[in-house]
């Protein structure tokens, strides 16, 4: 307990020094004052303040790419992606308005309708960020748009890993993890427009230098259920999976409640 408090004290001191050195400023998210520093995105600053901005392609530890657009907010009245938009002194950010809520719902629906998402039989159900986001945004049955029902081949060439891009939302997390963390190029984008998809560096996955320890294929990298470990399916019983226990985003919201900042 005392160690924890010491650590917290050091952390807050370091934060203060950092504030002075890195040019701290204040801006508003939905009218609430939030601290930001030079070099931070709106998303970074919001996370620190315990304000959750929905996201799919952005994830801790990877460079943001701004492609899913689920994090769209309004900055001084103009839409921008919170994960790539720099925080700046005095800006007015809108995050939880009905208008933005509806855009996000539409985007989540688009991702569902674009691929093949049969949640009841999907291995990732319950720990899938797309599914969890739908629940958080109050979508229980995506039926607004037509289903595109693509037919995408499954790559089962590798002895330990299977790649089923029928659920791929093109978030690029596997690509960035492979490049930036593993220092490899196992995955990459190919195609354009509707035909843009994730490809592998070779004829198939077995031809690549992918390794079971790669971050690119770690459980938390793919937000849906495209990258599957063979022989390891359904390892957590339904009902006990991550988002069965608490809605997506609650860790960010809770972390700050714990620290007692709000």
């Amino acid at each position: 307990m005392t160690r924890f408090m010491e650590e917290a004290a050091i952390e807050s001191m370091a934060e203060k020094v950092g504030d002075i050195m890195r040019n701290a400023f204040v801006f508003n998210i939905d009218g609430v004052g939030v601290k930001g520093k030079d070099g931070q995105t709106i998303m970074d600053a919001a996370d620190q303040a315990g304000i959750y901005i929905p996201r799919l392609c952005d994830v801790e530890g990877l460079e943001p790419q701004g492609s899913c657009r689920v994090c769209t907010v309004k900055v001084n009245g103009r839409p921008a992606a919170a994960c790539t938009q720099p925080a700046a002194e005095g800006i007015e950010v809108e995050n939880e308005t009905l208008e933005i809520f509806n855009w996000r719902r539409d985007l989540i629906r688009m991702l569902f309708h674009e691929g093949n998402h049969l949640c009841p039989i999907c291995e990732a159900s319950g720990r899938c960020e797309l599914q969890a986001m739908a629940y958080r945004l109050g979508i229980f049955q995506p039926a607004k748009y037509p289903y595109l029902q693509p037919v995408r081949p499954i790559d089962a060439s590798h002895p330990d890993i299977m790649l089923d891009t029928n659920r791929c939302i093109r978030c690029g997390r596997c690509i960035r993890a492979s490049k930036d963390i593993d220092g490899k190029n196992v995955f990459g984008y190919v195609g354009r427009g509707m035909h843009k998809r994730v490809g592998v560096n070779g004829k198939n996955l077995a031809q690549t230098n992918v390794h079971l320890d790669d971050r690119a294929i770690a459980l938390e990298t793919c937000p849906v259920g495209c990258i599957i470990r063979k022989g390891l399916g359904f390892f957590t019983p339904i009902g006990q999976r991550e988002f069965d226990r608490a809605p997506i985003g609650s860790t960010i919201e809770k972390a700050v409640l714990k620290r007692g900042k709000k």
Binding site: W103, D106, H113, R192, K196, N201
Partner: protein, 613 residues
């Protein structure tokens, strides 16, 4: 094959010094010589250029002019623009298809021919048109298509296709094209006979760079590529950015359907473009320049290279330009790969860097960190020409033309149902009706200003003015008569955007597909009123959440057509018959079952007779 492939790959890489940012040029070379970039070739290229196969595959699958599958020696790309469609490209396609024995998208078994559709090739004033390898053929008819196909079959020679050369520099030995300029109206700034060679550059070099920028600012010049950003402001921002290297890029991607004015400037005013770029370089402290030339205009490349060579010889490029000590600047031409999105300035920079033509995250903006991370200005072809003329004629002369917020003249590319399609240089502020009169449009019913992402107008809106305050346009002006189906036009634009979306962000990649689905539902006559709200709603989400200008504007034809032609929509909307859910078509639903069951429905298809198979 193996040995040949290896040597072709090695030679291509060597030709461009194994330079990673020149990979598009390398791929073009390989594609031309091997008729494809196969998986095996990708492996070789990756090894030779110290990159990864997936990176090469990413490029080959992004740009339309590269292909993993083998193509014919001669690729016939039929322009599938809406203007060409109305002008009869389908009938022309049928003839090619029959003569060559292949369908659209197919390659002949002797590997001699491939037949494809391609989006607007910048020849809408001489439609229907096609690209046969690099050669442009225009004003096609079923008869001329037959002649062309048979002659190609006989000798596989594209150089024999140009029987009669076009006007002006189209007839130059190095251009050798049947393309016509169709300059219908010359203005004072760009196409008149008063354009004095290098006068702007000479005057600029006598001034300080800041003074040059000030003149451009004072002239009120705004970008001619469509967005209308202040050119002087862009230049001053780039000048202020701290860096030893700065780049000047000319956007000659001209991909907006119905636009072809940059093609005419490239043909007739090449020196003026390069002069403008050189002035810009002097003003911002630019060290190198790039002209990003769309792949469809490759036929202009040898000519443009010759103009550049002549300028180097004359001391207008290279070191100590125009005798100005220490001012060094040169220009290279980068060919595109067949992707409309590469006209968007940050995607264009990605493409120049040898990457997939995807827009970059902004900020930082190109003026701060552009090409290879250095401050970069990207301007349209016409903008550079205007800048050169402003330095000669003075800002006041320029600002005296046009309107308060849109100074100078503008080139319009007029196409469609009119007697005189072509290029019109007009002062900003001209009314749509006046353009229609000049062009001899006798039954104008629908006018599309600004290309696919522009605005659709009904007759009641022809009083509107072309300028940044009202109808802004990069130059595309398409007119359609009363025989044209308005929804076919909207449908075509959406098809275009779906084809050309880079696919980076969700709303543009997916949303446009849903827009088109609903427009088709309306065309088929089983949509209901609620579908209009659906379209408006979806349009808004796409426009507000997309990552770049393509998605920010792609729903505009939907919105403006609903606004301008409500009666057309209303006449197509039904109540939902047969006591079924509104918007549900039993026939459409049955089609699927019929296909699966391979027989007709007993209840709904009495006349089918119920025979199996």
């Amino acid at each position: 094959m193996g040995k040949d492939t290896v040597s072709v790959v090695r030679q291509a890489c060597k030709k461009f010094d194994h330079e990673g940012s020149r990979i598009l040029d390398i791929l073009r070379e390989v594609q031309k010589r091997l008729a494809c970039v196969s998986g095996e070739t990708m492996d070789l290229l990756a090894a030779e250029l110290s990159t990864h196969r997936i990176e090469i595959e990413g490029l080959v699958s992004f740009y339309s002019f590269f292909s993993e599958n083998r193509k014919g020696k001669i690729i016939i790309r039929l322009c599938d623009d809406i203007i060409d469609r109305f002008a009869g490209i389908e009938r022309v396609a049928k003839v090619f298809s029959e003569e060559l024995g292949i369908g659209i998208g197919e390659t002949s078994s002797d590997w001699n021919f491939s037949l494809e559709f391609t989006p607007c090739i910048g020849m809408s004033d001489q439609a229907p048109a096609a690209l046969i390898n690099e050669t442009v053929v225009t004003k096609l008819t079923p008869e001329s298509a037959g002649v062309i196909a048979r002659s190609l079959k006989k000798n596989l020679d594209t150089s024999a296709l140009v029987k009669k050369k076009g006007d002006g520099n189209n007839a130059d030995r190095l251009v050798n094209a049947m393309v016509e300029n169709n300059i219908r109206k010359k203005g004072e700034v760009l196409l008149g006979d008063n354009v004095r060679a290098e006068a702007g550059l000479r005057k600029a070099l006598k001034k300080k760079p800041e003074e040059v920028i000030q003149e451009v600012l004072d002239s009120g010049l705004r970008g001619r590529g469509g967005a209308g950003f202040s050119t002087g402001l862009k230049w001053s921002l780039a000048r202020k950015a701290k860096d030893a290297r700065r780049f000047v890029i000319c956007n000659a991607d001209e991909g907006e359907p119905g636009t072809f004015k940059d093609r005419v400037l490239l043909t007739e005013r090449a020196d003026l473009i390069f002069e403008g770029m050189t002035i810009a370089a002097y003003a911002i402290g630019g060290t190198s320049g790039i002209v990003y030339l769309r792949a469809e205009y490759e036929y202009l490349l040898p000519y443009l290279e010759r103009v550049l060579a002549r300028r180097r010889k004359a001391g207008l490029l290279g070191k100590n330009i125009g005798g100005e000590k220490g001012f060094a600047f040169d220009i290279r031409i980068q060919l595109g790969g067949g992707a409309y999105i590469c006209g968007e300035e940050s995607a264009l920079i990605s493409s120049c860097e040898g990457l997939r033509g995807e827009p970059k995250t902004r900020p930082p903006f190109p003026v701060e960190r552009g090409f290879l991370g250095h401050p970069t200005i990207v301007n349209n072809v016409e903008t550079f020409c205007c800048a050169a003329r402003i330095l000669d004629g003075g800002p006041r002369w320029f600002a005296a033309m046009g309107t308060a917020k849109s100074s100078g003249t503008k080139l319009l590319s007029v196409s469609g149902d009119c007697a005189k399609p072509g290029i019109y240089e007009v002062p900003f502020g001209i009314r749509v009706a006046d353009v229609l009169d000049m062009a001899g449009a006798d039954d104008p019913t629908i006018v599309q200003v600004g290309g696919a992402s522009g605005e659709m107008l009904n007759r009641g809106s022809f009083y509107r003015k072309i300028c940044f305050e009202d109808l802004s346009t990069g130059g595309s002006f398409m007119t359609f008569n009363s025989s044209r189906n308005m929804l076919k036009i909207v449908d075509y634009f959406l098809e275009f955007f779906i084809h050309e979306s880079c696919g980076y962000c969700t709303p543009c990649r997916v949303g446009n597909v849903f827009l088109r689905e609903r427009i088709q539902k309306i065309m088929e006559g089983y949509a209901v009123k609620a579908d209009l709200d659906y379209l408006k709603d979806l349009s808004r989400t796409i426009m507000m959440t997309s990552r770049c200008g393509l998605g920010n504007t792609s729903p505009r034809p939907v919105l403006s057509s609903i606004d301008q032609f409500p009666v057309v929509y209303a006449s197509l909307l039904g109540e939902g018959g047969e006591g079924l859910e509104a918007g549900f078509s039993i026939q459409k639903a049955l089609e699927e079952s019929r296909r699966i069951a391979k027989r007709s429905s007993m209840i709904y298809d009495p006349v089918y007779g119920g025979s199996s198979d």
